[in-house]
């Protein structure tokens, strides 16, 4: 067993657990020396450009590639038929869910490139490879795709109506999954017997991911070794290799996936996209590396979008305001293609996360997962967690207003008590820890809640409405999964961590090194991280669901224990002592009760130099370990937003924002606070500005940053940040995932504040995004 984490003694170390160590990669990235996929250029490299459907729905009559193929520099023009002929298989079908009747969800077969029908604007139908990017672009415009247009449908509630356009012949009514969870009868009884039922129809707006780095890939094939190599930005090379294996029909050993720096993903780059397969096909067909890099306007069409739920949410309460039952009925729009979309956010994650921090004995979730003629909807920062917290927190504020109970008091009456753990929720999760009532008090104090009326009076003098809102969230994060913990002592004296999570902007190298340094006493600056090379991994769950510190951190801790076990054997030999007498602490193997010992780095150096060792003795300290993983963690917190609204124009400004979070044991508070800031700004964006809009023909109306309103730095106030940590009991670090929490806190707190500001007009709900026009229209409607 390892030496237990001794946070107190290590907190004083510069690179110890809990220290705000700046990110190792910042100097590189800030000087423009990052190596993103598009920064890599291989010898003889060619360029691919994708031809996309310009209509939302239609039958492909013909694809004329002749003109394009004859253009200067063009080496190949390919369609879906070429990929089929080359032996490429069907796209991965993703997660499996059951319908309410126990049958399997619909999973239509999908080729990498469609050959029969196009189903959304941006659906890839062909690709052109040329010697230069410009030649490929010119030729792509010359590919003639003759499509017989069909009616399109973009709204899920309309897509399931009789007579709606059908996307797939074997998916009647476009219904992929008729999802049901919970005790329907019990919930129905509770609803009918309740003193009060609050009901809200809530649209969770579709948004684009808008990561800084567009998707990019370089595909290669080496006939001599029969190996495919794909360089791309993704969220985990191990899983990406597995998905490629199924489509390429190649063994994983014949596939090499490499990822360098990744400029943001938020869930989106986890999927296998058709463009990567196009690059690989052309790489093999032409015998040269083929690079494809998206352009921003294509990113709007082809990167999976986020959110897009349409729910009716109901909360039943008794006369004292005690929650009796929660019910969500609605739709999840997953767009047109299953391979890079997912039904999980509006189904399983709605179930797990809507309960939040409250005792609600009964839960029912019914979700229709529906195809529409829109860009696929995939995981996006929280992937259902912020949405579910948002539904509950909006219900609570609305119920409080309807019942005349103070909204803070209503939360207090329903909190899961601090001594109730372990606590089993009706979604089947076992919360291990937390202190929700105290955390709420902490947040209210930080936000100066009690003096809000003074600030509101001051705003009113300037003609502004002021509103205050809380969002107390709890996310079920870090789905369990195996992860590699590799530790390698290198010839140059460095120590390499090898693990299969993947940093796409979070800064993993730093906290992972802090953990390793803490466990083994290895100097922080000697530690490197390998994460983006599938040849180096024996396991790897990738990054997603706020789990990296828990899975890779746990893997590093267990692997460190194995290093110590090996080191004790070797140290016993070197020190001429019995193995049982060797203790390890502070980076040294010591003979118990003496001052004799050897440092781990010194021991590694001795091994490198070559040392006579008995035959049964390990020859290195290196470890390649597979960690089985830990249960989900339950980060939670309370965010308090304060907004000012100009009633004449509807403009809303977030003027104050305070948060208190429970992320358990925090390895690096600097990075954790940064994660919170980023998530909150994304949340403010979704709450106040961002919205993907399609017209009735399925054309994307918000296809550029001109028409899609992304928040900017000036749209966010300075954040007040505080921690109220209760260490998790279920993982080796005591950590709780923080990456998605910002969105979970921001959506409800900002929208509750907006509704609070508008409450004097009798407004009880407004959907996101609360744009100036929407707010103004709500006020205008309320006044008449």
């Amino acid at each position: 067993m390892n030496v237990a984490m001794d946070a107190d003694s290590l907190a004083t170390l510069k690179f110890g657990i809990g220290q705000p160590v700046p990110r190792k990669e910042d100097p590189t990235l800030l000087q423009g020396q990052g190596r993103y996929t598009d920064d890599i250029s291989l010898s003889g490299q060619l360029y691919a450009v994708i031809v996309r459907s310009q209509v939302a729905h239609g039958r492909i009559l013909s694809i004329d590639t002749e003109t394009a193929a004859a253009m200067p520099g063009v080496l190949g023009v390919y369609t879906g038929a070429d990929l089929v002929a080359a032996g490429f298989g069907l796209m991965p079908k993703g997660l499996a869910f059951k319908n309410r009747d126990g049958s399997d969800m619909a999973k239509p077969d999908q080729l990498p490139l469609t050959t029969d029908f196009v189903r959304y604007v941006g659906d890839p139908v062909a690709f052109v490879v040329a010697e230069t990017q410009m030649q490929a672009r010119d030729a792509a415009e010359a590919v003639m795709v003759d499509i017989d247009p069909l009616p399109a449908v973009t709204e899920p509630a309309l897509a399931v109506e009789p007579g709606a356009p059908q996307l797939y012949p074997n998916v009647p009514n476009n219904l992929i999954l008729d999802y049901h969870y919970g005790d329907a009868e019990g919930v129905a009884k509770a609803m009918s017997a309740a003193a009060h039922v609050t009901k809200l129809r809530i649209r969770n707006n579709r948004i684009v991911v808008a990561q800084m780095e567009p998707r990019s890939a370089i595909g290669e094939y080496d006939p001599a070794t029969d190996r495919w190599t794909l360089r791309l930005g993704c969220q985990g090379v191990f899983g990406m290799r597995q998905m490629l294996s199924s489509v390429l029909g190649a063994k994983t050993g014949n596939i090499h996936v490499l990822t360098g720096h990744v400029g943001g993903s938020f869930g989106m780059k986890a999927s296998l996209y058709p463009e990567y397969l196009c690059a690989l096909h052309a790489g093999r067909a032409l015998g040269k590396p083929v690079k494809w890099t998206d352009e921003r306007s294509d990113s709007f069409l082809s990167d999976s979008h986020g959110r897009d739920h349409d729910f009716t949410a109901e909360l039943a309460l008794d006369e004292d305001g005690k929650f009796l039952a929660l019910r969500l009925n609605g739709f999840g729009n997953v767009g047109a293609v299953m391979s890079n979309s997912t039904p999980q956010p509006s189904t399983l994650n709605a179930v797990k996360n809507s309960i939040g921090v409250y005792r609600t004995p009964l839960l029912e979730v019914n979700t229709k997962i529906v195809f529409t003629n829109t860009t696929p909807v995939g995981p996006y920062r929280g992937a259902g967690r912020p949405e579910a917290n948002y539904y509950m927190e909006r219900l609570i504020d609305t119920a409080a207003a309807e019942m005349g109970i103070d909204r803070i008091e209503l939360r207090r009456r329903n909190h899961i008590a601090a001594d109730a753990f372990p606590y089993r929720t009706p979604s089947g999760n076992d919360y291990d820890s937390g202190d929700f009532p105290a955390l709420l008090d902490h947040a209210l104090a930080l936000a100066d809640w009690d003096n809000f009326s003074t600030r509101r009076t001051e705003s009113r003098k300037r003609g502004k409405l002021r509103g205050l809102g809380v969002g107390q969230y709890l996310e079920v994060t870090a789905p369990p999964g195996a992860e590699m913990g590799g530790i390698r002592f290198e010839p140059d004296g460095a120590v390499t961590i090898i693990t299969g999570t993947l940093d796409y902007g979070q800064g993993h190298a730093t906290p992972f090194a802090q953990v390793l340094s803490n466990q083994l006493g290895v100097p922080f600056d000697k530690i490197r991280l390998i994460q983006g090379d599938s040849d180096q991994l024996i396991a790897g769950g990738g990054t997603g669901g706020s789990k990296s510190i828990i899975t890779s951190g746990g893997a590093i801790i267990e692997a460190s224990g194995l290093v110590i076990d090996k080191g004790k054997k070797i140290a016993a030999h070197v020190l001429e002592a019995a193995e049982i007498d060797i203790e390890f602490s502070g980076g040294r193997f010591n003979i118990a009760g003496t001052d004799r010992g050897i440092g781990i780095m010194e021991l590694a150096a001795k091994l490198r130099e070559g040392m006579q060792l008995p035959p049964d003795m390990p020859t290195t300290l290196d470890v390649a370990h597979i960690y089985k993983g830990a249960p989900s963690s339950f980060p939670n917190g309370c965010h308090v937003a304060e907004v000012e609204i100009d009633p004449d124009t509807g403009e809303t400004e977030v003027v104050r924002y305070s948060m208190v979070n429970d992320f358990g044991v925090v390895i690096n508070p600097l990075l954790v606070e940064g994660q919170a800031h980023g998530g909150i700004v994304q949340g403010i964006g979704q709450a106040l500005r961002e919205r993907v809009v399609y017209d009735e023909d399925g054309q994307l109306m918000t296809g550029s940053f001109m028409d899609y309103c992304l928040p900017r730095a000036v749209d966010a106030p300075s954040f007040a940040f505080d921690a109220h940590s209760v260490p998790a009991r279920t993982n080796l670090l005591g950590a709780k995932g923080c990456g998605e929490a910002g969105c979970a806190g921001a959506l409800p707190s900002v929208m509750n504040a907006v509704v609070d500001a508008l409450s004097e007009f009798g407004i009880r709900h407004i959907d996101m995004p609360a744009t100036p026009e929407a707010v103004w229209a709500a006020i205008a409607a309320a006044r008449t």
Binding site: D648, T649, G650, E651, R689, V693, M701, T702, M706, D707, C709, P711, R712, V714, D715, T771, P772, E773, W776, A777, A780
Partner: protein, 294 residues
């Protein structure tokens, strides 16, 4: 498909080039609209004529009579001219709302005007300042009030062979000032959903003796709102005058309904911004500090 580029060094040379050209000729000042249109394929000119080598077309001259602003003078130069900022703060703040800091290094008043977008920020401010465009062409030179240049989206009153050489602004009377406000769905680098400019002159008692009001993005062209000016002339901008201004502004609006703003919203906000711009202009004319943030 060939594209030729010319950079004449005199007005006569430029006019001759424009007059003699066949096919589509586009004039390049800062290029912040033109280059975007070229790259997107929206315009396919045969000739691009860069005016920036013509003497006097870059820079600001302050004289006893007023200001002469070269047609291609970039926003950054306009923003740094203390005399102009003091005399016509509305023009300066409007010009400096166009695009980003980088765009400001190139974007010009003539380009903003001749691109003829209903949402062009600097145009309402120039209209309320009474700016005169000096137009040169095959028939010599003519002076045209700025409000007569744009005749529709993407269309100007300039005849074949004509271009704008400079803008003239009179020295403002005592106790005069102006302001420009725009409404956008975000905080910067966006196109106005509504723009409103107001210029006022006050008498010693603070009563408005002269006013001009202009609105952008609420009609096919920028509007000179005479009724709006009349609503506040003779007043000290009391609540009644403001209400009349608001009503007058709303009355002239003829906006489009699009994804950036509905008709109702644009009309309502036009009234709000006209009021607020008038209030800032009056404060400035009285010598009081007034922020530019709306």
């Amino acid at each position: 498909m060939s594209l030729s580029y010319a950079s004449p060094t005199t007005v006569n040379e430029a006019v001759a080039l424009l007059t003699g050209a066949t096919g589509l000729t586009k004039i390049l000042s800062g290029g912040t609209d033109l280059l975007v249109q070229l790259r997107s394929g929206r315009v396919k000119p045969d000739i691009i004529m860069d005016t920036k080598k013509i003497p006097g077309i870059l820079g600001i001259i302050e004289t006893e009579a007023g200001f002469v602003i070269g047609a291609a003078t970039p926003g950054a130069v306009i923003g740094e001219h203390a005399g102009l900022a003091a005399a016509y703060p509305g023009i300066v703040e409007a010009a400096n709302l166009i695009g980003s800091t980088q765009v400001q290094g190139r974007a010009s008043l003539a380009g903003n005007l001749c691109n003829a977008s209903p949402a062009a920020d600097s145009v309402p401010a120039m209209i309320t300042a009474g700016a005169i465009a000096i137009v040169v062409g095959p028939n010599g030179q003519r002076a045209v009030p700025v409000e007569q240049i744009v005749i529709g989206p993407g269309r100007t009153s300039l005849a074949r062979g004509e271009f704008i050489l400079e803008f003239k602004l009179p020295k403002p009377a005592a106790r005069s000032s102006g302001a420009y406000l725009r409404f956008i769905p975000r905080t910067e680098m966006d196109i106005a959903v509504v723009g409103a400019a107001v210029n006022v002159t006050l008498d010693a008692a603070g009563v408005i003796t002269h006013a001009r009001v202009s609105l952008g993005a609420v009609a096919p062209t920028q509007l000179l709102v005479v009724d709006g000016a009349n609503a506040i002339i003779g007043s000290k901008l009391d609540d009644a005058a403001l209400a009349k201004l608001d009503a007058a502004a709303r009355a002239v609006c003829n906006p489009i309904d699009d994804k950036r703003g509905t008709i109702d919203f644009r009309i309502k906000v036009a009234g709000v911004l006209a009021r607020r711009a008038a209030a800032i202009a009056v404060q400035r004319a009285l010598g009081q500090a007034a922020g530019t943030k709306h």
